[in-house]
Symmetry: C2
Subunit: 331 residues, 2 copies
């Protein structure tokens, strides 16, 4: 059973995805991944995932068989699904929605031990391209308002299987962080008539101290108010609200910049676990003020605890100017 | 050096607390706590903490010596401090504040292996009473706008030392979650002319399915939009905005209810790590709409990952109706 519920005070939606049980336990702290156990994401194990919704394959190879270099499959335990019915009947102060949406896994490579950052640029670009393609599919469904693409690399970053993969969740409401960013972008636009991200890029490029790397298409920044040590944002310098509207040249440049920054993080922090998140405008009509898609990359160096959950603030022990300098100087 | 920085898009403050270094590393994933190593929170080790700002002691015992049953000391590595100077000079799109505030540790017991929930009710009440006392002290400082009390129990919940303790951080800005709750409470008040928490209590008590326990003074709920499996809120049934204004009878009742709920969680989930957070109105003038202080208690059963950091949403695999039933039925 899947359902979205809104907290009446904090205006925060929570996705419930549960089988009702006598003694429901939820996720148990840290999945145990046994290195030698069966991997459902390896070539030859296609039958152990739901049927693929997209794949890049050798010519002539059959769906859900070997011969692929990338597969997209529905999540076996989806947070949201296409076939949920309205549930419950309390109303009054509470609001709920059926858990309608999509939840897919992008299996980025058939090789069990290959990480995304180690793949050739063209292959990384195929991963981002597949995400763009799936989002173009999702946006045809009017019930889906936005999609969250994310990757958890390493067990401490929340990955439950070591085989390199990422996930895409299509949601019937705009996510909380995206709503906040849209509001912040609108506030900035009202005050200055400009895209706040374009202003950030201009400011950072002219000051330089938080720039990790730049090329013709992307700038990689340690953001001014980084929540985590060595947090990095990859921002396309050309203004564009939606990742799903971007072109192949930008996708290829994104792959190159991701590979560069991941290599710098790996050399500096010794292959850290990380979370990667795409921020992009909701589907549907144009947003009321300029938005600007980008990728946020966060090495996992600690974990959120009482202060973060209570205050919604973060305490960061590394200034972004220092992080950017160290990453620029990485051999 | 300490500084607060505001993200210009997400309107989110981050506290920077760092010594500048050539190769700053930040927190390393999971502190390693060696069970036999020296504990700075034990009786006899008073010299290894900063001087106590408050203590409950045997009559005649000297400050910063043995003979105490509770000590409050400044954090040795404070996130915020009373003596920060304004820093930096960039302005334009960015906003920053000096890292002014307080950061104290409440050492809840001299016994190394005693957990808060195992202490007698009267001793637990002394802990909450000490927090109230420190908040009454903090609020005299006009630079401090609100305080976040929190407890991380267990290594997986972020505790860096096993000896039972909690923390209090006084901040120069209102925390993000508190600001959101104040806004939600104001919205509800505009629409209904009532305190949203009082309405929640009334609704939950009349429906019953998410009530874990209640007595004359408190109700313990599995909240409608729980972010985490077995999340529990302890809410005083009498309307009161500020924890720092509450009286001894409520403090004692809180201790009793905390002990009850912690025992139910321990029996159900086998002594889980948990985070405990106090939510209370900011210091200074009365809030513009009714607020209602409460405690949020969250067993740690997984960890936030890419989806949570990207979307600001949570996926919860246990419905609160199920969690409340299981906790009610705990032996």
């Amino acid at each position: 059973m899947r359902e979205l519920r809104r907290d009446p005070v904090a205006d925060r939606w929570v996705i419930f995805s549960a089988e009702r049980a006598d003694r429901p336990m939820g996720a148990i702290t840290e999945h145990i991944v046994e290195p030698d156990s069966f991997c459902p994401f390896c070539e030859g194990a296609e039958a152990s995932t739901p049927s693929e919704s997209f794949a890049l394959r050798e010519e002539g190879s059959a769906p859900d068989g070997p011969g692929w270099r990338l597969r997209v499959v529905p999540n076996k335990f989806p947070a949201l699904s296409g076939e949920e019915r309205p549930s419950g009947n309390e109303t009054d102060i509470y609001q709920r929605l059926p858990g309608v949406g999509r939840h897919e896994v992008i299996i980025e490579t058939p090789e069990h031990d290959r990480s995304l950052a180690d793949m050739p640029e063209a292959r990384i670009a195929e991963v981002f391209g597949a995400v763009r393609g799936r989002m173009r599919e999702y946006r045809k469904d009017e019930r889906i308002r936005c999609a969250q693409f994310f990757k958890n690399h390493g067990q401490a970053a929340g990955a439950s299987l070591p085989h390199s993969h990422s996930q895409l969740i299509g949601m019937p409401v705009v996510s909380k962080l995206l709503a906040e960013e849209l509001e912040g972008a609108a506030r900035h636009y009202r005050q200055r008539g400009r895209c706040v991200f374009c202003d950030i890029i201009e400011f950072e490029l002219s000051h330089g101290q938080r720039v990790i790397e730049r090329d013709e298409v992307f700038v990689a920044l340690a953001p001014f108010a980084s929540r985590f040590p060595y947090e990095a944002w990859l921002v396309p310098t050309r203004h564009e609200a939606r990742f799903d509207d971007t072109d192949d040249a930008v996708i290829l440049a994104l792959a190159g910049m991701f590979k560069q920054i991941a290599a710098r993080l790996n050399r500096t922090l010794d292959d850290p676990p990380y979370n990667l998140m795409l921020h992009t405008a909701p589907f549907g009509p144009a947003p009321p003020a300029p938005y600007h898609w980008h990728i946020e990359l966060m090495p996992v160096m600690g974990r959120a605890a009482g202060f973060e959950w209570g205050a919604g603030f973060h305490i960061n022990s590394v200034f972004p100017e220092d992080a950017a300098r160290v990453l620029r100087e990485a051999p």
